[in-house]
Symmetry: C2
DNA sequence: ATAAAATGTAAAACACTCTTGACATTTGTG
DNA sequence: CACAAATGTCAAGAGTGTTTTACATTTTAT
């Protein structure tokens, strides 16, 4: 699919005062996965995206925005 | 990740009176992809999930629900 | 200025998503 | 019933997402 997506994970994470490792632990993924997503190396799976949105008390569409 | 997810794509598609092929064409994916998702062979990518939700005028969380 | 904590990078292995093409089954209508 | 339309299945291959391990850089606090 390969479409650019803005994501606001770092922003929401800092608002929640969590470290990358905390997010990784809570969602049971590796810290690398969180880093890669924050730095736009790739998009998360749908499942992980939903969990991230839930963790930050927001919606998937709020957290990830399709370009243009 | 491999978590079961209920998805309501078939339901929303029928409400919209679209064929699988219509959905595939509009979102520029193959018909197989739509079939596989409707029949829970696998979950769509985040990008495709967002596009599906938009097509059906709903939210990702409404369309895809994590089990339990 | 130093040490510790947090964040970032890289690469290999593996699992998951998507496509293509060809064919089978089910559903709907005359 | 018969034919067409819609839906489903299978398999191979390309591309994407995640993990692990090990190490490098940046940030924070003392």
């Amino acid at each position: 699919m390969v479409i650019k997506m803005n994501n606001r994970i770092k922003e929401f994470r800092k608002k929640s005062d969590l470290r990358q490792e905390d997010v990784a632990n809570q969602l049971k993924v590796s810290r690398q996965t969180i880093i890669a997503i924050e730095n736009n190396k790739y998009n998360p799976s749908l499942e992980l995206a939903i969990k991230l949105a839930k963790l930050f008390n927001t919606d998937v569409e709020e957290l990830f925005q399709l370009e243009e």
